[in-house]
């Protein structure tokens, strides 16, 4: 990665779920305070804040989240900025924090992500999330996000023989992981039969193939090498940060069975880090729908194109498998407060690389990868982290 070294020196998150008693601002303050306390800095040491949030305007009526965060953390007047890239908002906020440190402009910054999604009807939430795709030419014509991924799933099934059972296995695995995560929305195992018998949301995707609507926030403190050395015993280093874009509408893509943006961002991340897919010990990937995790396995390069169905079937992505994926429970079981997800992925990997992931720890994990997608693949962000102590 170009520029100065960048380290995570603190991480924290609110629990994910239906937080009827907490507001948007309370959620992000909860996560930020935990990250600040974990880093052992004082709030006043921070030089800037980058916050990811997708649709607070439609979901709560509140915009101007950057200023809101600084205000309610009691650390005005430092610069605080919101970034938006649909469900990849958190990772895009992270990239901006990383670049601010890597460039030498700042020595210590906070990056957060937040979303409050459960106070509107499912229809309104669906409309707000629909804006992550092409509002005028998809949402206008009745598209939903499950439907867009269903269209990809149907092609993957046709072209590679992927089955609904194989997709269901992703949900079963991620719930098994979520059951071990005290911050997860669903700390409960489910069976293949339960997934297969759940109602269709957009065929061939069923209710249990879909990530939920969630409230939650996550935050990390990033610092330069000089700053991290002084204060942090267990720093984790960013060794790659890459982002790619693609057509806003699914219909305009050449392929429906892979996300080009993920392929491009992954390739770039492996170039930056000098690593290969087989070097990764643990990964958090964007399983907004089960088919999305399967496609991510192929696009990142954990398995061959078209083989992700067999890959999950063989248990390769379980904890204890060759590449444990979504130890947090993923978007499916940990929850998906969209703006928070990319930051939560880094929180989970920070815990994994420090050896703090308790019941879901991947033994000896030293290198982790996050994959965060916006929309149906119009933005994809990859980060690679390395244990640095």
């Amino acid at each position: 990665m170009k520029g100065k070294k960048v380290f995570v020196i603190g991480a924290g998150m609110s629990s994910f779920g239906e937080h009827w008693s907490s507001s948007l601002r309370e959620l992000i303050v909860d996560a930020a305070v935990k990250a600040i306390a974990d880093s052992k800095i004082e709030g006043k040491d921070l030089q800037a804040i980058y916050g990811g949030c997708m649709a607070s305007g439609q979901l709560t009526g509140q915009e101007h989240i950057g200023a809101l965060i600084a205000d309610y953390l009691g650390i005005n007047p430092l610069p605080s900025t919101r970034l938006e890239a649909a469900c990849a908002s958190g990772s895009v906020a992270l990239r901006n924090g990383i670049m601010a440190i890597a460039s030498g402009f700042y020595d210590v910054v906070a990056v957060g992500g937040v979303e409050k999604m459960t106070e509107v009807s499912t229809e309104l939430a669906s409309t707000a999330l629909g804006g992550a795709g092409d509002e005028e030419w998809e949402l206008f014509n009745g598209a939903t996000f499950p439907a867009l991924y269903a269209l990809m799933a149907r092609r993957h099934m046709l072209e590679y023989g992927t089955t609904e059972e194989q997709m269901a296995m992703v949900a079963v695995k991620n719930h098994a992981n979520g059951a071990k995560n005290p911050f997860a929305q669903y700390q409960k195992e489910i069976t293949l039969k339960q997934v297969m018998e759940s109602a269709y949301v957009a065929s061939p995707l069923k209710l249990f193939d879909c990530s939920p609507l969630s409230d939650g926030a996550a935050a990390v403190i990033l610092a330069s090498e000089e700053f991290a050395k002084k204060i942090c015993e267990k720093p984790v280093e960013f060794i790659a940060s890459s982002q790619a874009s693609d057509t806003i509408a699914l219909a305009n893509r050449k392929s429906f069975t892979s996300l080009k943006a993920t392929q491009v961002a992954s390739k770039e991340a492996f170039t930056q880090s000098g690593l290969k897919a087989k070097d990764i010990d643990v990964a958090e990937v964007h399983d907004c729908f089960t088919i999305a995790e399967l496609m991510a396995m192929e696009d990142i390069g954990f398995c061959e194109k078209g083989k992700s169905g067999k890959f999950i079937e063989a248990g390769e992505t379980k904890i204890g498998g060759s590449i444990p994926v979504n130890t947090s429970g993923g978007l499916k079981a940990c929850g998906h407060p969209v703006g928070a997800t990319g930051v939560k992925q880094v929180v989970e990997l920070t815990w994994q690389l420090r050896g703090d992931a308790n019941g879901r720890q991947v033994k000896g994990a030293e290198i982790g990868l996050t994959h965060n997608v916006g929309g149906s693949g119009a933005t994809s962000v990859i980060h690679i982290l390395k244990k640095a102590f």
């Binding site: 005028e136 030419w137 009745g142």
Partner: protein, 132 residues
């Protein structure tokens, strides 16, 4: 989402007649309209072009959980239609027997009401497709 009149008006040709653009330099067609060719960028020459009204289903889904404005239509089919000129387009599939909606099925464009809000809101019309 309730559509502003200006918004409906400016997309009439695209939504009523499937009018997109064709680049005379790279010979690729695009729908919806773009003002810059993504292949040739400023060197491209885009001209208005009607898309064929026939094609086949490339992928489909039966939607049971709808966004605001479509609550009363569930379940409904959505699909990616590959038009005869290879341009792909997202659309609902209507007036078709359930077991005929499958990948490869031949379809044609039909003119339909797409969105209607409350009683005095503007009604938005456009294309849907039906299996032939």
């Amino acid at each position: 989402m309730v559509q502003a009149i200006s918004r409906i008006w400016r997309s009439i040709k695209q939504r009523y007649n499937l009018e997109g653009v064709h680049c005379e330099v790279c010979k690729e067609s695009f729908f919806p309209k773009r003002t810059i060719c993504p292949n040739c960028r400023r060197k491209g020459k885009l001209v208005d072009a009607k898309m064929p009204h026939t094609g086949k289903i490339y992928s489909y889904s039966l939607v049971y959980s709808a966004p605001a404005g479509f609550e009363y239509e569930v379940p409904y089919f959505v699909a990616i239609i590959e038009l005869d000129n290879k341009v792909k387009i997202f659309s609902q599939v209507v007036d078709s027997e359930v077991d005929k909606v499958k990948i490869g099925a031949k379809v044609k464009a039909v003119f339909r009401r797409v969105q209607a809000g409350k009683e005095e809101d503007v009604i938005a019309y456009g294309y849907k497709f039906t299996v032939v």
